[in-house]
């Protein structure tokens, strides 16, 4: 067979997992920032902006992430921007993440009961003051659980970056498979590492959700 022991495989996968985590963080933070900007734009109540945001969300939720990665990878060079797998993957995953976060967060903002708006208004707060002091703080409480829940989808999404040549956990897995010819073992170990990253997030999100349900 090969010179790779199980421990070697594991060590290599573990090293590659760093890039999975880093890419996830970039996508999540970047996506959060873009989603925040989209939400701010939506708050202007400009109907053209709102329509744009709706279409933006619809497009990123209605097309495969893999296609988004390909388009970033092959499309940006056409604009004269040379990109490697890093840039393309970061960009595509950021936009992908932002669309979902924008939707999740909008939902949370809308879930604040109407009475809260009215109460704020009767207390003399204007739209932005109501938003900042009354609506957003309440929404954040509601939004934390689904946001963390979605971070699992981001981590899993980074696996597709392997297809455009980004060497992260999944790519490392295919490379190791090509030299060890032990796909069962290698991909099982890859899966376990993803599980170790994702499952705590899933549990934490469920815990927060339960806590919120109990308190409300």
């Amino acid at each position: 067979m090969s010179d790779f022991t199980t421990l070697d495989i594991f060590q290599n996968l573990l090293l590659a997992a760093r890039w999975t985590i880093l890419l996830s963080l970039i996508a999540f933070v970047g996506g959060g920032i873009v989603a925040g900007i989209l939400i701010l734009l939506r708050m202007t109540k400009n109907s053209i902006l709102s329509a744009f945001i709706r279409i933006y969300v619809e497009i990123f939720q209605g097309t495969p992430l893999l296609m988004q990665l390909f388009l970033a990878f092959f499309g940006l060079p056409l604009l004269g921007i040379e990109v490697g797998p890093w840039t393309a993957a970061s960009l595509a995953l950021t936009l992908f993440t932002s669309a979902y976060l924008c939707e999740i967060w909008s939902g949370c903002l809308n879930s604040v009961p109407k009475g809260q708006w009215e109460a704020a208004k009767t207390l003399g707060l204007n739209y932005y003051q109501s938003m900042v002091h009354v609506i957003i703080p309440q929404s954040i409480r509601v939004a934390t659980a689904p946001t963390i829940g979605f971070s699992v989808q981001v981590v899993k999404g980074t696996a597709l970056a392997s297809i455009i040549g980004f060497v992260e956990l999944t790519k490392a897995g295919t490379m190791l498979n090509n030299v060890t010819f032990e796909p069962f073992k290698v991909f099982a170990m890859v899966a376990i590492l993803y599980f170790v990253i994702c499952y705590p997030l899933t549990r934490y999100s469920k815990y927060l959700e339960r806590k919120l349900n109990v308190s409300s």
Binding site: P64, M67, L71, F74, L78, S162, T174, Y199
Partner: protein, 226 residues
């Protein structure tokens, strides 16, 4: 920018495109039906009386939901044959798709069941119905009525995930895109076109499933009275 987009160059490959479209549609229909069916069975097990099955299904669902689809696919397609399960690429792809939708819909449907009033179980019991009769005739329709938007979104997400099957050479839509771009070198145009087709698929699938679920579960009839 001196690059001119050339969509006309894709035209000679329309036959490949059509066969890719057809395969993706077939995969989607089969996955949706089987996946949701497994979800119903999974959810029934999750709320059922057998603790062992409950935990078994619960564990399986968590494994599927916390690992990437592409890794599951590689594990099934490359890994399982080494322990004696020979699968074609399409079979492996279908199994991965169905397992995925099955796991997610198990969780979604279970949540719907738990959100259904416990009094409904009791009413059914005092009226002499068996557990499975209560589940099928009383609880499930109400659960579906509550969760159909979430379930439909999940079906769309899993459909979009089928593009990953191209990585094990299932000749579906994304595979076609890869093929066309390798022949024409019109990568952006190929992927742009195919992305548009996926977008249409997503919209149509969502629409069809919404209509079906309203037909099946009387979503409207129940709302009218309120």
């Amino acid at each position: 920018m001196d690059y001119q987009l050339d969509f006309v160059g894709l035209f000679p490959y329309y036959k490949d495109l059509v066969s890719g479209i057809i395969l993706t549609i077939q995969i989607t229909i089969l996955t949706t039906i089987l996946g949701v069916s497994f979800g119903i069975i999974g959810a029934a097990t999750r709320v059922g009386k057998n603790k062992f099955l409950q935990n078994l299904v619960g564990g399986f669902v968590e494994v599927v939901r916390n690992t990437p689809f592409i890794v599951q696919l590689f594990f099934i397609f490359f890994g399982l044959p080494t322990i004696g399960f020979k699968l074609t690429a399409l079979e492996a792809g279908m199994i991965a798709m169905v397992i995925n939708l099955g796991a997610y819909s198990t969780e979604i449907i279970r949540a719907g069941i738990e959100a259904t009033d416990k009094g409904q179980w009791e009413a059914g019991k005092t009226l002499g119905l068996k557990w499975y009769q209560i589940f099928i005739h009383i609880i499930l329709p109400q659960a579906f009525n509550k969760i159909s938007p979430a379930l439909i979104s999940q079906c769309v997400i899993v459909m979009l995930g089928s593009s990953v099957l191209s990585q094990i050479s299932v000749e579906e839509l994304t595979f076609t895109a890869n093929f066309i771009q390798s022949r024409t070198f019109l990568s952006f145009e190929s992927y742009f076109l195919i992305t548009g087709i996926y977008l249409i698929f997503a919209i149509v699938l969502r629409f069809v499933l919404t209509v079906v679920s309203e037909k099946l579960f009387k979503t409207k009839a129940m709302k009218e009275g309120n």
